[in-house]
């Protein structure tokens, strides 16, 4: 009986010893490594690494999943045969990549914030420049809508930026930039087409000034783009006045009611004051001249204008100007004090040359 108890005790002790040895020899599970990786991933996710460093973040997440799967797989084996090496390696890689994703994200956020801030200022300036540069160029409804749409998009971009939603802000600013570029292109094309007539304008002006010099007479030169009216005497400029035109001032006059100011060589046909004019004083031009009439007929033939269109008349240089905006129906408005000078100096028959610009496009928009 004693022998049996000793046998049992020995067996029990040996078994216990074996179990203890086995348990001690089994590798620790990758809990710490996985917890570390997880902590990094949460940190990365919080600063939106999935958006700023997607590849790194997704690789880190994939390694984390692999690590957990490897652990799960090992747990299914008998504890004596478990090996957590792979799980630990994957967790370490996940931790490393998540750390890298955090660094990249922080850098990108910092750079993006700075760049977007600069871009917002740049776009605000571009809008300002656009209005400054082309503010007096007529714009169609679609263009005007684009202009407002662009401004709204810029505001949305700024709002998103202020909420540190840089990705949304970038999208809005991209759209704003596209609209500004399209508007810029639109204006460049309008001006390019318009200024293709510059050689003709230059010829008219040179001819008028030469005539004034040769014949010792006065002449008036109107520069539509510069909004200037120049009085020449004996081929020499003696006075310069600011003018106001119509909103649709760009381009030659094609028909009645198009609110455009004609371009060409004209003369003063009549001087009107008092009850003869609804303005303070007015110098009536001989529009339409023979060239205008020929062009009008040709435009009808080419179907540029409607068949029942009328050529228009009563183009004047008149007073009541000084409003600071384009407001006439195609006439040229001057301040009353300025029209007084012209009215005094100019007579019926004085040449009036109206051109788009005295300067070529390259000089105006280098």
């Amino acid at each position: 009986m004693t022998k049996f108890i000793v046998y049992i005790l020995t067996f029990f002790l040996v078994s216990l010893l074996c179990i203890i040895i086995l348990v001690l020899s089994v590798e620790d599970p990758p809990q710490d490594e996985i917890n570390r990786a997880q902590k990094r991933l949460v940190e990365a996710e919080k600063i939106k690494s999935s958006k700023y460093a997607p590849e790194l973040f997704h690789s880190a997440s994939a390694y984390y999943d692999s690590s957990l799967n490897a652990w799960r797989h090992e747990n299914e084996r008998l504890f004596l045969f478990r090996n957590f090496k792979k799980a630990k390696e994957f967790a370490a890689l996940s931790n490393l990549l998540a750390e890298e994703a955090i660094t990249v994200t922080r850098n990108k956020i910092s750079v993006t914030e700075e760049l977007l801030g600069l871009r917002i200022s740049m776009l605000e300036n571009r809008f300002h420049d656009l209005i400054e540069k082309y503010g007096n160029i007529p714009i169609n409804n679609a263009g005007r809508n684009d202009l407002v749409k662009g401004k709204l998009l810029l505001s949305e971009g700024i709002l998103a930026y202020n909420q540190e939603n840089f990705l949304a802000s970038k999208i809005k600013l991209d759209s704003t930039e596209l609209i500004i570029s399209l508007l810029d292109e639109y204006y460049v094309k309008i001006l390019g087409d318009y200024f293709s007539q510059y050689p003709q304008w230059h010829h008219w002006v040179t001819q008028s000034i030469s005539n004034s010099k040769r014949n010792k007479t006065d002449c008036i030169i109107i520069d539509k783009y510069a909004r200037e009216c120049m009085l020449y005497d004996n081929g020499r400029m003696v006075q310069k006045f600011t003018i106001e035109l119509s909103v649709n001032w760009i381009g030659d006059k094609n028909e009645q009611g198009d609110k455009s100011t004609p371009e060409g060589l004209y003369v003063i046909k009549n001087k009107k004051s008092g009850k003869d004019t609804k303005y303070y004083k007015a110098l009536l031009l001989n529009y339409p001249n023979e060239e205008d009439k020929k062009r009008f007929v040709l435009n009808k033939k080419k179907k540029i204008i409607e068949q029942d269109a009328k050529i228009g008349s009563l183009i004047e240089i008149h007073g009541n100007g000084g409003k600071g905006i384009d407001w006439t129906d195609g006439c040229i408005a001057l301040k009353d004090s300025d029209i007084d000078i012209l009215f005094e100096v100019c007579n019926i028959g004085t040449r009036v040359t109206i051109v788009g610009s005295l300067k070529p496009l390259k000089e105006l928009f280098p």
Partner: protein
């Protein structure tokens, strides 16, 4: 007798070695389902930080599960407790998401209504504004701007239906800002005009 004792001892040892409580699969499924619901509600966007915390909590529970699975003597009590906490938290985050969305929706609707009122007021002001040749041109331009703002507000209404609340709010706010600036401009012009008329004694 000797054999019975030996068998009992071996059985006890084997029981100790493979001892395990039941894997809390139902609780895991419930927690996952709750997280999915939260995600579907838009928590990633509208309750971003808490959604990450929720996912983190679930991951921690899953790690704890594996820890227990690694042990000789498995005890899933803490895992079950963790899962129950995750499920409860998921419901809280879902509620927070819904509340935030409702809050944003209200703000958007309020802003859209304000912009619509401003547009109508501005249209009325355009009718009241001085209509010289010069004024008419500026008013046509303003009418065009109002049309664009109206289009932006219609777009915001459509976006609201699609549930993109943050972008919609930005759009509505930008439109409000622009409509407000037109309102200020028109009010100033009219006030100036009325002042001039008064000064002229008309």
């Amino acid at each position: 007798m000797k054999n019975n004792l030996s068998l009992s001892f071996l059985g006890l040892t084997a029981l100790l070695l493979v001892s395990c409580s039941k894997l809390p699969q139902t609780e895991i499924d419930l927690a996952n389902a709750a997280i999915e619901e939260t995600k579907a509600a838009g928590a990633e966007t509208y309750a971003h930080d808490n959604f990450i915390t929720l996912q983190d909590s679930m991951n921690r529970v899953m790690v704890n599960l594996e820890v227990q699975k690694s042990k000789l003597l498995k005890n899933y009590t803490s895992v079950v407790e963790g899962l129950s906490g995750v499920t409860g938290f998921a419901h809280e985050v879902k509620l927070e998401t819904e509340n935030r969305k409702a809050e944003l929706k209200n703000e958007i609707q309020k802003t859209i209504a304000e912009v619509k009122t401003l547009i109508e007021t501005n249209k009325q002001l355009i009718l009241e504004a001085p209509k010289g040749k010069e004024g008419a041109t500026a008013l046509v331009a303003m009418q065009g701007e109002l049309d664009s703002i109206e289009a932006a507000i219609n777009e915001a209404s459509t976006m609201l239906e699609s549930g993109d609340y943050l972008a919609t709010l930005d759009k509505a706010r930008a439109a409000k800002e622009k409509a407000h600036s037109i309102n200020t401009e028109l009010t100033e012009v009219i006030a100036k005009y009325k002042g001039n008329v008064k000064n002229k004694g008309i």
